[in-house]
């Protein structure tokens, strides 16, 4: 294994490569320094222009993203919606804003108000027992009792 790492003599291989390099010649096909420098200058200019365009595009994309986020309805879980609804209904009942009509129960009211509640049906009942209007008096003459007295026997 030490032969692998301590192989000292590469002169044979290097000699072959050097000879080959000499035979194949040098500068054929090699671009000139001027051409390379010109290409480097052009490419760096294109890159900086491209970079500017990229930044502009990035800024526009960011603006669009912000707009979308602002205008989009928020995603809320169903559990949170349910919690919001429950909270709103309990608040509404606190403020007296319930939709269902509650049945008044005298037993549930304070005694002060219970007296007031008891008065109202009594007055309604008394109004129900008032005699009919006087206009009906004329019709009393047509009662069956009186007709009975005036009736003549048929032969």
């Amino acid at each position: 294994m030490s032969a692998v790492f301590h192989e000292p003599d590469e002169s044979l291989e290097r000699g072959l490569f050097e000879r080959r390099a000499r035979v194949q010649g040098g500068a054929a096909g090699v671009p000139s320094l001027d051409a390379v420098l010109r290409a480097a200058r052009i490419e760096s200019r294109e890159t900086s222009n491209g970079r500017g365009r990229a930044w502009t595009g990035l800024a526009l994309a960011a603006a669009c993203l912000v707009t979308v986020i602002k205008t989009r309805p928020h995603d809320v879980s169903s559990a949170r919606i349910a919690a919001d609804v429950d909270g709103a209904s309990s608040g509404a009942s606190d403020r007296g804003g319930i939709c269902e009509e509650q049945v008044a129960s005298t037993s549930a009211l304070d005694s002060v108000y219970a007296g007031m509640v008891a008065v109202a049906p009594a007055s309604q009942e008394s109004r129900a027992c008032v005699a009919p209007p006087a206009t009906f008096e004329s019709f009393r003459t047509l009662s069956c009792d009186r007709d009975e007295a005036n009736r003549t026997e048929m032969p």
């Binding site: 192989e7 072959l16 080959r20 390099a21 035979v23 096909g29 290409a39």
Partner: protein, 191 residues
């Protein structure tokens, strides 16, 4: 460690400062090496030219942002390797030029051999190296090229390839075995 890392290879790559001026002054020496490295990775001379340009364009854009401790030459080779990988991916399946040796661009070769013996050795070197490179997977080939062709040290190759130091040594050792086998085959077949 009696290892001869970096010996006998071009000017110590580690000594070069990592800034724009150094890269400009090194370009003449570095660009052909990077081009050769990319041609060996991509297997296509024209594609290697494009890749070399792209490598140095990136290098010039980034070189001034690097920390002062960065070593210029290994860093440039690292950029080159990334460019080669990108081009490979973009191109899909690259021609495996080393498989049959036919697609190698021999037009670029220096045919002015000094003596008949030199000409023979030149042919041998080209044939052996390209046969061996054709047998190596991309990563091992890159490691061998960085070590034996471009003279980078194991320490410099490790971060460039994203490997540990032992892995670098093992990979290069195995790649060298393939190279030696190719040489023996060539010499055995040639005699």
């Amino acid at each position: 460690m009696a290892d001869a890392e970096g010996e006998g290879v071009s000017p110590s790559p580690s000594a070069v400062a990592c800034d724009h001026a150094s890269l400009v002054s090194m370009y003449g020496e570095l660009a052909p090496r990077v081009h050769r490295f990319l041609r060996d990775l991509l297997g296509d001379s024209a594609l290697a030219s494009d890749a070399t340009q792209e490598t140095f364009v990136r290098a010039f854009r980034r070189v001034d942002e690097l920390p002062g401790t960065t070593r210029l030459v290994p860093w440039v080779f690292g950029v080159a390797r990334f460019v080669a990988l990108e081009m490979r991916r973009a191109r899909g399946r690259v021609r495996r030029v080393f498989d049959d040796g036919v697609a190698v661009d021999h037009r670029a070769m220096d045919t002015r051999a000094r003596t008949p013996e030199d000409a023979l050795l030149d042919r041998e070197a080209v044939a052996v190296v390209e046969t061996a490179l054709g047998r190596l997977p991309e990563e091992r080939r890159a490691a061998l090229l960085l070590r034996c062709d471009h003279g980078l040290s194991y320490d410099e190759i490790a971060p460039l390839m994203g490997w540990s130091l032992p892995k670098v040594k093992i990979e290069i050792f195995r790649a060298r075995e393939v190279l030696r086998e190719a040489l023996e085959e060539y010499r055995g077949g040639g005699t």
